[in-house]
Symmetry: C2
Subunit: 441 residues, 2 copies
């Protein structure tokens, strides 16, 4: 064995599986080769990770984020959406988001993600090759697209160039152990029908995920209803671009018919509860989606609207939120939410056979969660503990693709302190860009 | 000076105050004697706490909790309310909650609270003298009542005995530097009108807080409307027991008239967003209360329904929740929520002149929050950072009443490891009690 993870209660997150008290996970190369009670798992191993009596579980899967936006975390909050975007986020992006800055932001976001137990991130930003490179450097698993949108972006002067870059990306990263290339169209209101169709065709051609923002805001829903007499989901369904490879971010404003469509076509929904609350977009009907068999995972969205990449927090807030708004305390129970955080997310990204549970033959993406801090004692039920009491700061060790990336809360693959210094150096430039816009009036 | 807290951005939480970059707080005995830019604060001091470039702010004030219930954290979740209480919480309490267990639970809860930046807790449980003793031992500030209810409790065979014990408590703890004695009546549906009035009179006599659960559930609201033709708030107002010394926990189900009454009488509301969501009680109309000038603070409620004592999380979830449910992204902005977490809570508990802000002449209840972990970098706005990005685990140092209780995440006044071992020993007894009830059917 190359790696043995021991001394914890194992939550495999396989459907119907019971927690394994004093369990262990054995890893050879990239793969899980044994999971079970400690005495059933082969020894010795080149390396042993001790979970310290805590929980051993699959890494969390962040199905929707904009990684490099960690650099804009907390830059502007509590604002109307238009003012937030036009006077703060866009000017800051325009001023600083070149390839080098995206690299820094992605590295920093990957470090934050790993320390919060996230082992797989689905990004949606610019400079895809740079993003992929940063994720590889840290060692985290990632789904990486170049985004297409009907106007110039920092990395692409036109949708045509974006499509060409997406093709190159798909060719370069097919069969990569960590990076899944993907194709993204920004949203049904920002990319014309022809370009959305081209993007979806490209995803089909390479058999990769097709990412798109859908029905995030009431404005989007109302605009489609008024201008096209349909909903964003039905519009995309009518275009023929929705399929089991689609990752539809948000889906806050969907009708019962939309939900049936998402279920029927096997579309995966990336739910972003914290961002949807913070931007006042609303509350996506997750319980209804789950009841109809829609694939659902959680996403943090970008740190400009979250303001962290703490996916566990998104899951925890979802578990609370839906009880409160439905009036049903049994809604979104801990085992359901824990499954969405791990297995559900993997399935949304088309990685359900690769990661998302601890099972023999899957890649070893594993988190050890400590349970000794006062807020974590006692633990009567491990899934309940994960969803109602645990914190990102309890994440002690993280393994991705068989490699130990975090040990005792320390990231091993990059120099966290050096990155922090670079982020500190950049922040005044970001602030300055926004102040310059303000000064212009 | 006895203590100097330096090297951080000071958020005094005084109304209208701006963050003080590179600020400092000086302490003599129990009191804050200077707050301002570092160079303006007198030196030297017997002890210096270095905030490491993070934030220096008032401790968080938990206006409603049931401390010893940390021992039941995660024992039963995702259940209908009746089943949760009758088949899990009450049997467990009956089996284990003697004075000794309440002591252990309160000590453990105080440790958890401190490590999460909470410097003042308003408890509502049994064995008040034991609770007060435990809080004193840890050194945390507390508001402590003996609860009156119309049936026997673990510590009182009758409401009459409870009233007598409340009187003794008020006499014993008047003028205590850390413990504020209080009088509690459980709720308008569980204590008869005569006893509620007696409790309120006793609070009046000793000039101490009067605590009561009010309008937590839809059931309570509907029962009062059906059986008495009024609301729980109006019922209490008509009894003449509501005043500026009242701490009304929950107030989820209140009418516009109720809100006006709460404002007019100066009642403080202890809002428990996480517990109210988790138990599916609903969403208290905090924005409306604040607009009408009602005093509001946050509470965690007991850890059986939270499942932690992480008050910062309650504040953060409130900031998100009200945006999402109102559709207004400017609702409950960070500075408002940060104020409720500190000053607002102190005012609700009648301690507004004692704690809640960093001001000369107030007691020194101070928290240093680190801002170096990846989720905390960069910080563009300290209040926004506190409410949208910070975590309880960022709490580095905690001072209560001038005394350093937590330094570099370590509690100095009690043996955390020894307490943890005791909680571990107790947990199987708690679980056994619930299983015995199940076995009986």
């Amino acid at each position: 064995m190359d790696l043995l993870i021991v001394n914890g209660t194992v939550l495999t997150m396989e459907p119907g599986a019971k927690p394994i008290v004093d369990g262990a996970v054995a890893v050879r190369g990239q793969d899980i080769v044994a999971v079970g009670p400690r005495e059933s798992v082969p020894v010795p191993a080149a390396k042993v990770l001790d979970a310290g009596g805590g929980l051993i579980l699959p890494g969390f899967v962040n199905t929707h984020t904009h990684l490099a936006m960690v650099l804009l975390r907390g830059l502007a909050d509590d604002l109307p959406l238009k003012e937030w975007l036009e006077q703060h986020i866009w000017p800051a992006e325009k001023a600083v988001m070149d390839a080098e800055t995206v690299k820094l932001g992605t590295l920093w976001a990957a470090v934050e993600s790993l320390k919060a137990g996230v082992t797989c991130v689905c990004d949606m930003y610019f400079y895809a090759p740079t993003v992929a490179e940063a994720l590889e450097q840290v060692g985290i698993r990632g789904v990486v697209p170049e985004s297409i949108i009907d106007f110039p972006t920092p990395s692409c002067p036109s949708p045509e160039v974006a499509l060409e870059k997406q093709r190159e990306l798909c060719e370069r990263y097919r069969q990569h152990p960590l990076i899944t290339p993907a194709v993204a169209a920004h949203a049904p209101y920002s990319v014309n029908a022809k370009n959305i169709a081209k993007a979806a065709e490209l995803a089909e051609e390479f058999d990769v995920p097709f990412l798109i923002h859908v029905a995030e805001t009431r404005w989007e829903m109302e605009t489609f209803q008024k201008e096209k007499g349909t909903t964003p989901v039905q519009y995309l369904a009518d275009l023929g671009v929705l399929s089991s490879r689609t990752v539809a971010a948000h889906c806050v404003h969907v009708t019962a018919e939309d939900i049936a469509t998402l279920a029927e076509l096997g579309v995966g929904v990336a739910a972003n509860p914290v961002s949807n609350l913070k931007l006042a977009s609303g509350v996506a009907p997750l319980p209804q989606m789950l009841a109809q068999g829609v694939k659902v995972g959680f996403g943090t969205d970008g740190a400009a609207s979250n303001n962290t990449l703490d996916l566990l927090r998104d899951a925890q807030i979802a578990a609370l939120l839906y009880k409160g708004v439905t009036g049903d305390p049994t809604c979104m129970p801990a085992p359901t939410v824990a499954a969405l955080l791990t297995r559900g997310g993997a399935e949304v990204l088309g990685l359900g056979k690769v990661v998302g549970t601890l099972a023999v033959g899957k890649r070893a993406d594993v988190v050890c969660l400590a349970t000794h801090e006062p807020h974590a004692v006692p633990v009567y039920d491990p899934e309940s503990h994960l969803i109602y009491a645990a914190r990102a700061s309890d994440v002690q060790h993280v393994v991705v693709n068989g490699k130990t990336l975090v040990e005792n809360h320390k990231v091993l693959t990059v120099d966290e302190d050096a990155l922090r210094r670079e982020v500190f150096r950049l922040a005044p430039k970001v602030r300055g860009a926004v102040e310059a816009v303000k000064a212009k009036g």
